[in-house]
Amino acid sequence: MSGIGFNTGLKALLASQAALDTVGHNIANAGIAGYSQQKVLFNTSAPLNVRGLLIGSGVNAASIQRSFDSVLQGRIFSRQGIGSAFQARANSFGQIEEMFAEPNGFSLGKSMDGFFASASALAGEPGDTVLRTSMSQAAMDLTTVFNELASTMKTFDEDNGLQLKAEVNQVNDLAAQVAVLNEQIAETEASGIPANDLRDQRGIVIEGLSQVVGVKAIESSTGSVTVTVGGATLVGLKGAYKMSVKTGTGEAPKVKLAGVVGTIDVTGGSLGAHLEVSSTSLPKLDTELDKLAKEMIFQINKVHSTGVPGSGPYNLLVADNAIGDADGDGKFTDELLNNGSLPFDVKSGDLYVTVTETATGEITKHKLSINSKKTTMGDLAEALNDIPNMNAEIGSLGNLRIVSDAGFGYDFSPTLDTNPDDMGAFGGGKASLGTQGAGPFALADGQTLDFNVDLAGVPTPVSVNLSLGDFKDITEATAAEIAAVINADPSAQAAGLEATEVGGHLVVQTAGEGADEAFDVVGGAGLSGLGWGGFTGSTISGSDNSVAPVISGSFTGEGNGIYTFKPTGDGTIGTTAGLGVEVYDEKGDLVVTLDVGDGYVPGTDLTVANGVSVSFGLGDLSATQGDLFDLDVVSDPDTTDALVALGIGGLFTGSSAMDIGLRSDIELDPNMMAAAFSNAESDGGALLAMFGQKDAAQANLGGGTFDDFYSQFVGSVGFEASTAETAMNANNALLSSLQQQREQVSGVNLDEEMTNMLRYEQSYQAAAQYISAVNQMNDAVLNLI
């Protein structure tokens, strides 16, 4: 019996010792993150059977249990992953925001303002060299800021890539630790001992893992946890699987796990945030910045390429952008302008080329038609080559090179042809006969046009045969086709009879000017088709005077068109009463009738429309003989955008924020900057048009201005940063609440533990004292017995 008593007491002492050790353990770990309070669980020892009697044998400390809520811990892991992601995202966008911050960042907004302000200032005094230098500098500053921003963002992306690699290493390290702890816990618990402290350690490691990558942890019956990332196992029952990340310029980083086919979708933790920044946010910002730079290049170059440099028309231009050899045949001539290799698209439309004779200032305008689906680089070069005094060739790298002959220059400006009647078909000195109407003309195969040209008193017959093969459709012959046939005819050439097309009309003229020049209209079946049947037997004479209309002003109307000038009757400028000049637009609508009859002083400017004026010299006009001239009125000399696409005559080079630059010859000589739309020194039209782009709605930028787009761009960065920060704060509040709950469940309250100990101590002391009291009391009773 005494043996049983001794055993009972010993078990009690051991149980008590375990309880006290646990209290001491709790106190010692009270300040350690992730430590879960432990409690001793007691159970009653199996009773001893002594001769049929079941005798109690005391108590055992059955196990030491962690105060732990696995569901709560799971939510904490999840929140930590989310919080860490928000933190990393807020940090990343905070850094990006700093790049764009005005005024301490790169100040793109300020640079854009500076550029447009300098254009506006120079427009007032286009000849001012200081202002020219200032604008060149402002343009350079703007390109530098774009370049630096793009470069900084690239560096940021590269740094982000390095950060990703470091985080993946961290994940691998932590995953390996979890795997080791899994083994240790399983081994310990297999022997029936709860591995409380190892579990706490593993919890801390998983928390760290969750902060980096955002994980889910599921515990198995053996005590091991399986950790998954993006649905794939990172730590399994057989250990950790190695994570890797592939980063590269211009490529979204890819995370892989050993043994898993394809990439892992990591969204949580700092790794998830950095992946998102690298794969989505940063490319989007890059794209937006490039979009802004590209649109700036396009709009400013579109204006600049159609301007005239301060130094006058160009003699040499080399395209900044080369056409690509898309079909790989080693030739550029057969490449469509719109083959996709140029940074901007080429559209169907017209390109006006103005050639200026340097000595006289005489200009001629030429319209080249471009079909985006048909025109090749070779076609364009050929069309340019066809312009008198212009030469074009394609370089070995695919760059178009345009050179003018000595004594000539060229540009692509909308400048008006000041002397549009080159042919003298409008009251000129030549003997001239024009059709009343514009083509097409109904002719027939085998018909002739018969003239007799007076060559210094000698009648020289001219008979032009109209053959089917010379026309696309002889029943609908164009003035140009007929003029080509006449000009090719040997008899016409011998007689010096020339033909030309003016606004669809056919004009036949003598080569020389003066009252002595004349030709007879003899006959031929073709005359009636041209409406000249009534002239049969008539003599067409030249004149000693020439009306020689002079155009002034700048066209301010919309679109590109043609003004056709026709006299209202036959008579002499400034003399014949009621003589007028009607001006028609390209649709045939009458624009204005100008009074050039009695009272008109030759040489006086008359207003036509849309900023265009005309003056006429003394001379005779004949509506009967079909006098007329055409004037190209152009608001957009390049509706094809071919100049911008090829990089001809632009202010900026490049097509993105990274490669935008100032054209090198402008950098060296600001006089090469196009300020005007004409050869006039005081013309700042091109600069005003560039300045106008500041507040222009840009369709490719969502209909806002450059400034609007940039403000939205910067605003979106700020929004992302503040959103991430707000979300992070909200998440932290939630996490804090969860951690508080965990503290209530798992945390060690040092006060509580100490109070418990003192309570135990006092109780034991009281018990011991009571025993003394009982002994004293009983001594008296024993004395009585």
């Binding site: 009690a12 006060d751 309570r759 025993i771 017995i785």
Partner: protein, 158 residues
């Protein structure tokens, strides 16, 4: 036997019976304490100790009654009260003391059991007390104090 003695016998028997019951209660209380200690059940121990205080409080009135009754026997028999025991009183009472003699034996057994149980409880309590003191001293030293000098035992920040 005189009628005066006859009057004292029921009183002494009642007093012994009362003491016997008191000792049984003490024994029960000690068993509760022992169980509380062996189960490390501080709440039960505190409950038992609270009851023990009431039990201890009952000892003093019983002592006074005992002293008065022995004085009465002293006056009756002219024998010093200090030399009187339940055994000598039962012997003097002769046949009338048989019941008292039996009760004396029961009380003696009860006291022996109380003594043994009390000794066990005291051992447990002293052991627990020693461990606790050691743990408290360890903690207080960690906190930078000296237990013997009375440091701050409770970490107010925790």
């Amino acid at each position: 036997m005189s009628s005066a003695v006859d009057g004292l016998v029921p009183r002494i028997e009642a007093l012994v019976q009362e003491e016997l019951c008191a000792q049984r209660r003490v024994l029960e209380n000690l068993v509760r304490q022992e169980n509380a200690l062996t189960n490390a059940d501080i709440a039960s121990l505190e409950g038992a100790l609270s009851e023990a205080r009431d039990l201890a409080a009952g000892a003093s009135p019983r002592e006074s009654q005992r002293r008065m009754l022995l004085k009465d026997f002293e006056r009756l028999w002219g024998v010093s009260a200090k030399s009187l025991t339940l055994g000598s009183i039962a012997a003097r009472l002769g046949g009338s003391g048989r019941r008292l003699k039996r009760m004396r034996a029961e009380l003696s057994d009860e006291l022996r059991e109380v003594g043994r149980t009390a000794a066990r409880v005291r051992t447990f309590a002293r052991y627990h007390q020693g461990v606790i003191r050691e743990a408290v001293e360890r903690v207080v030293e960690q906190e930078g104090g000296v237990a013997s000098e009375g440091g701050t035992l409770i970490n107010a920040e925790a």
